[in-house]
């Protein structure tokens, strides 16, 4: 037995002794929360999500199709003079092929697709794996997030249950993003963009034309 194993065994034995517990799983199941969140229909969920985003200072738009979101991003890049956009290769489209960049370090704008969105908190969940870098939604001063309308769930608990349903093989990083990076550490004055992006755009694609990911959608995320 290696030194690490000995330390671990001794460490756990101390806890067991203090707790007067025999080795093995808990005698009682994990306490589960009763459902407390409200029930919303699709339209209410979308309206609440957009309202929450706007309250957070996020520029939120609902567009009919993915192409409309892409067109909006192209216009934004032109207006702002963004010469590069950092984005994972599978999300790129040809119209602005000269601007795509994988490395987000110097890019003024980063683009990512959300796996899920939470209406009650105005949150988007990104799964970071393979080419879907953590940095795309973190390092640029402005970011855009695209989410199909059908992936909006009501409460944060729905998103947590969706993660739990994915099993143990999670991506190395899951990022819940709720508005811009912010701080009030200087004189309690709210300032955005302290480390992460100070500006967040969200496009909700109403007819779900963003390519479906391989994982189960939010339809399976509801409480049993």
């Amino acid at each position: 037995m290696g030194r690490g194993r000995v330390e671990r065994a001794a460490f756990l034995e101390t806890l067991r002794r203090q707790l007067h517990r025999a080795p093995g799983p808990p005698a009682s199941p994990v306490p589960r929360s009763p459902a407390t969140q409200r029930t919303l229909d699709d339209q209410e969920r979308l309206a609440l999500f957009v309202a929450r985003l706007q309250a957070l200072g996020v520029m939120a738009s609902v567009v009919p199709a993915l192409e409309d979101a892409q067109a909006a991003i192209e216009r934004l890049a032109l207006d702002r003079g963004w010469l590069s956009i950092s984005c994972a290769a599978p999300l790129r489209w040809p119209a602005i092929a000269d601007r795509w960049k994988a490395d987000p370090r110097e890019a003024p704008f980063g683009l990512a697709e959300a796996e899920l969105a939470v209406a009650e908190t105005g949150t988007l969940l990104l799964t970071n794996h393979g080419p879907f870098r953590r940095g795309h939604s973190l390092l640029p001063p402005s970011i855009g997030l695209v989410v199909p309308r059908a992936r909006i769930v009501t409460g944060f608990g729905d998103a947590l249950r969706w993660i739990a349903a994915q099993g143990p093989e999670l991506p190395a990083c899951l990022s819940f993003i709720t508005g811009p990076s912010n701080t009030a550490d200087i004189a309690s004055v709210q300032v955005v963009g302290v480390h992460g992006p100070g500006e967040v755009f969200v496009w909700v694609v109403a007819n779900d034309e963003v390519e479906e990911s391989s994982t189960d959608g939010p339809a399976d995320a509801g409480r049993a």
Partner: protein, 482 residues
């Protein structure tokens, strides 16, 4: 953990009480947060949520050996390396060894109360390694060489001008007194550090046992930067900071953002499950998790066990009338306010922090607000009792209470003592109050007036009350109501 002497405690209290600006800052900060507490209670089924938080935390702590084992096994399955540290010294030594093995010159850190508790920065700096805090509040207090003033908002006590001076010194140029400009400087300054750092050290708000995930709850994004850019990510976490699974986080993440920062959700909740996996284009190549005991196991199984349920929301600080006056530095440790007054003596020994259980009015506001329903006020009282049982306190203190106990059970001695007190107090009394007194009573009159001793004691008044009021006394019958 630093140890506060009585003199240091008194000095910090005196400093806080004498600083009118600081008094205003603390008061405004508490009042500001209490508005959000009310908003949260109005928006959510608050009592039910707190019951759920308590249930999840109690279940986890009651079965902590199982969940620590499960968490560690799952971290390893994901390619992480787990180390168990029984003491602060072991934790420091392990992180230092990791840094040395990687010839680290620069370490960036996300906010972590545990690393403050174990004195990690000092150990790394003593080895010649530059350690840079990256939470803006932590940056400010690192530049000021101070401890956190508040467990959520560490630099809440610093004025805009004080912060401007500190950041200007770091910038090597005069910066304007503008929070946005100062924050912009911090972003530029720290981004260079993030890109250059060899190691990123973070704490862990919650470890998810079923997946081995480390969950960080932040607003600024420095937690994400620290866990994304350096090649090596080291997590230093208290062993109790676990939940069984992701679903268990639901009530906790409904409560923590409101109580800690007055929002429905923090800007970022990040779940790290191992180092970067095959095919990932970013993220650290190595993940090390240091699970620290440092006095926690001694609390397990005992009457204070629920203190380990704490989710570090800071709400107890925001309602405490004592914190409101003395501020965070008087607590002399990483944890301030009621949670610090209970946790610090338990982790580090009563004898090293004898003032802390008394840094409370026992009003119970902390117990009432606590997100995890920890009976903080009861614990403070219990700690005082334990300290007396263990013989803590000065000779005069012990003598005083022993004398009181002897006097209080002897009516004649008590009467004599009352009369003596009246005689002694008379020359010190002016305008209905005693404003100065020598010796032990002087500790009281140094900061407050002592009411004048009444001309007649309650007992004498009781004896002299009209005879009809005494009817029924001592008969065991029904007492006549007025």
């Amino acid at each position: 953990m630093s140890r506060a002497t009585r003199a240091a405690f008194d000095e910090q209290v005196g400093r806080a009480l004498g600083d009118a600006t600081l008094q205003e800052v603390i008061r405004d900060g508490q009042d500001f947060m209490q508005v959000f507490h009310e908003q949260a209670r109005g928006e959510l089924d608050w009592p039910a949520l707190l019951d759920q938080v308590e249930a999840v935390r109690s279940h986890t702590v009651e079965n902590l050996d199982y969940y620590v084992d499960q968490f560690a096994a799952n971290v390893e399955k994901r390619g992480g390396v787990v180390y168990f540290a029984a003491t602060a010294q072991e934790a420091r030594a392990h992180v230092l060894a990791l840094a040395r093995q990687r010839s680290a010159k620069l370490i960036v850190k996300a906010k972590s109360l545990l690393t403050e508790e174990i004195g990690l920065n000092a150990a790394l700096e003593a080895a010649g390694i530059e350690v840079v805090e990256t939470d803006l509040g932590e940056v400010i207090i690192q530049l000021a060489h101070e401890k956190p003033f508040h467990i959520v908002a560490p630099a809440i006590h610093k004025s805009l001008e004080q912060i401007r001076v500190l950041l200007s010194a770091a910038a090597g140029e005069e910066l304007p007194a503008d929070p946005a400009a100062l924050t912009a400087f911090a972003r530029r300054f720290l981004r260079e550090k993030f890109f250059a750092a060899d190691i990123g050290i973070s704490g862990c708000n919650f470890g998810v046992a079923s997946t081995g995930s480390v969950v960080l709850v932040t607003n600024e994004g420095n937690g994400r930067m620290t866990t994304t850019l350096p090649k090596t990510h080291v997590v230093v976490m208290g062993m109790e900071r676990l939940v069984p699974d992701f679903e268990s986080l639901e009530p906790i993440l409904a409560v923590l953002p409101w109580m800690g920062g007055g929002t429905r959700m923090t800007s970022y909740v990040t779940a790290i499950s191992g180092p970067r996996q095959a095919g990932d284009e970013d993220g650290p190549e190595e993940l090390h998790v240091v699970i620290v005991d440092n006095g926690r196991s001694a609390i397990l199984g005992g009457k204070y066990q629920k203190i380990l349920n704490c989710i570090r929301c800071g709400a107890c600080l925001d309602v405490c009338p004592v914190y409101r006056k003395i501020g965070g530095h008087a607590y002399g440790a990483a944890y301030s306010g009621p949670i610090g007054a209970v946790l610090t003596p338990l982790l580090d020994g009563f004898q090293h922090h004898p003032e802390l259980p008394y840094a409370s009015s026992l009003c119970g506001a902390c117990s009432e607000i606590c997100s995890a329903r920890i009976p903080l006020a009861d614990y403070l009282l219990e700690l005082r009792a334990d300290m007396v049982r263990l013989g803590s306190g000065s000779g005069a203190w012990q003598f005083g209470f022993r004398g009181f106990a002897e006097t209080a059970v002897r009516p004649r001695v008590w009467d004599a003592a009352e009369r003596l007190a009246g005689v002694v107090a008379r020359p010190l009394t002016a305008g209905g109050a005693i404003r100065w007194a020598p010796g032990l009573p002087g500790l009281w009159t140094r900061t407050r007036d002592l009411p004048a001793v009444a001309r007649q004691s309650f007992r004498r008044l009781w004896r002299r009350r009209p005879s009809d009021a005494r009817d029924g006394e001592g008969t065991g019958g029904t007492r006549r109501l007025p």
